[in-house]
């Protein structure tokens, strides 16, 4: 069963096998990179005679940025704030952000999972990592991996809630892009 709401794939010519196989490849790659839950709908259109390869996807609701209170418990203590880290994965990012905000001399780490800040301003709302940007990076990586290797002329149009990725062997022309957009709209409305 597909975890996506819609996953359509269309290949021109007598290429039913390729359509079936590319469905598997796309699923494998998205699963490998842990992206499959973030994509709601996916439309793939391939014209192998031209040749080009296009993917259009709708993203599920945006991922909020990771703040200090998401990675640990913030407590007010005498002379400042104490952060008890629960999620060590973003430790390096957290320290970097705190150093930038308060300066190294006011950030102390007496134990592996404790950080004390000598300041009156609470750090809880500080942004540790922009998960959305990381997700978009991973997504671009996945799209490049999915498209056939020889298709080196690429265009990636990303908006807040969708992406359109086109890869072709020859230079991309505005006509080609509008043709692909029309085809994908057709698939969406079918």
């Amino acid at each position: 069963m597909d975890p996506m709401e819609v996953f359509k794939i269309e290949v021109t010519g007598q290429e039913e096998f390729a359509a079936k196989k590319y469905r598997e490849i796309i699923m494998d790659i998205l699963q490998d990179l842990g992206l499959i839950r973030s994509i709601g709908r996916l439309y793939v259109y391939v014209d192998i005679q031209k040749p080009y390869f296009a993917l259009y996807g709708l993203l599920r609701s945006g991922i909020p940025p990771l703040t200090v209170k998401d990675v640990g418990d913030v407590l007010q203590v005498a002379g400042g704030y104490q952060i008890k880290i629960n999620d060590e994965e973003h430790m390096a990012d957290l320290l970097r952000v705190l150093w930038e905000r308060y300066g190294r001399e006011r950030v102390e780490q007496p134990a592996r999972d404790i950080v004390i800040i000598a300041s009156d301003n609470s750090p809880s709302e500080l942004m540790v990592a922009d998960l959305e940007a990381e997700f978009l990076q991973d997504l671009t990586d996945a799209l490049v991996r999915v498209a056939p290797e020889g298709f080196r002329n690429r265009r990636n149009i990303m908006t807040k809630d969708s992406f359109l990725f086109i890869a072709a062997e020859e230079s991309l022309t505005p006509e080609m892009v509008s043709e692909i957009k029309a085809k994908i709209r057709e698939m969406e409305n079918a």
Binding site: V11, G13, Q14, E15, F17, A18, K21, Y22, E24, I25, D28, I29, D32, I48, Q49, P51, R145, P148, E149, G150, F151, R152, E169, E170
Partner: protein, 307 residues
């Protein structure tokens, strides 16, 4: 008639096997030690197989026929990028190895795409040094047909693999076409996928048999394993070659993994019991692979004798 077999067993007492093979007039082609295990690729006279089988049984080891032993096959992918490697190419190469042949994986520099795919003279020559080649293509029927130009100039039999079902007649330059492989992003583990690998091994086996039949019409002056043995004995520096297989066997000769300029004369001077020198019965050429020495045995029609 020499029978190719693969011996898998413990390291302990394996020298008994090596001694027996030598006494029977056979050859040890390859020796792979993995901690306490050893894998030997052996050529043994078929009439003496029973003796080897009895010894293998006594040592509680396994002895299986390795039909591709003593051959070298190129596994060719359009590039070395993540799109083509590792799963499909490595699975095929490993599977061929398990049947006894030596595989070399080769990624082309510009083999990608449908219109833009190309192969250069060096790559063609390198593939031609092998006994057969397996070309791994993708899932689009149209591309597989179009990419015929990549192997049109290759002289050794080429087995093409890809995804869709294509009639082998549509690919006149290929020896055979094996479908249902194509591009994959996972390892071959289902029974159907393993079945496809078996079909590749089968196709490669038939391709090699065809070459063997062609050689039999005008036999080689001597057999490649015999040259391997003589070179190993008379060019002792081969022991210092860092390659896992210092002398690689082909159907028509051997590749000696020593620098060409320094050792070509030593290899030419290798003498057989009959008093013939290797330089007289074989062409000694620089190999396209690194700086190695390629030995190609001349046929009986060129030298006028067989020994």
């Amino acid at each position: 008639m020499l029978e190719p077999v693969m011996f898998t067993g413990g390291l302990y007492k394996h020298d008994l096997v090596v001694e027996l093979v030598e006494d029977l007039g056979g050859y040890v082609l390859q020796k792979n030690v993995t901690q306490t295990e050893i894998i030997l690729l052996i050529l043994v006279p078929s009439e003496d197989m029973a003796a080897l089988q009895a010894l293998a049984k006594e040592l509680r080891s396994e002895l299986v026929r390795a039909p591709l032993a003593g051959t070298e096959v190129a596994v060719v992918t359009p590039t070395l990028a993540i799109h083509h490697l590792p799963h499909v190419a490595c699975d095929i190469a490993e599977y061929l190895r398990r049947h006894g042949c030596k595989t070399n994986m080769l990624g082309m520099a510009r083999g990608v795409g449908r219109e833009i795919a190309q192969i250069d003279e060096y790559e063609t020559a390198l593939i031609n040094e092998h006994d057969a080649a397996v070309f791994i293509f993708g899932n689009f029927q149209d591309c597989i047909k179009k990419k015929e130009s990549l192997y049109r100039n290759i002289n050794v039999p080429v087995v093409v693999t890809g995804g869709p079902e294509i009639d082998a007649k549509d690919l006149p330059y290929a020896f055979d076409y094996v479908p249902s492989i194509g591009r994959m992003a996972h390892r071959a583990r289902k029974a159907t996928e393993i079945g496809s690998l078996d079909r590749i091994v089968d196709a490669v086996g038939r391709a090699l048999d065809k070459t063997r039949a062609a050689i039999a019409k005008d036999p080689l002056t001597t057999s490649p394993p015999r040259i391997m043995d003589a070179v190993r004995e008379q060019v002792p520096d081969i022991e210092f070659s860092y390659s896992p297989l210092p002398i690689a066997l082909n159907l028509t000769g051997v590749r000696v993994k020593l620098p060409y300029n320094d050792y070509k004369d030593a290899v030419k001077a290798v003498t057989f019991d009959e008093g013939v020198k290797l330089g007289e019965i074989a062409a000694i050429k620089p190999s396209r692979m690194k700086d190695y020495i390629l030995v190609r045995i001349l046929s009986a029609s060129e030298t006028g004798f067989v020994f």
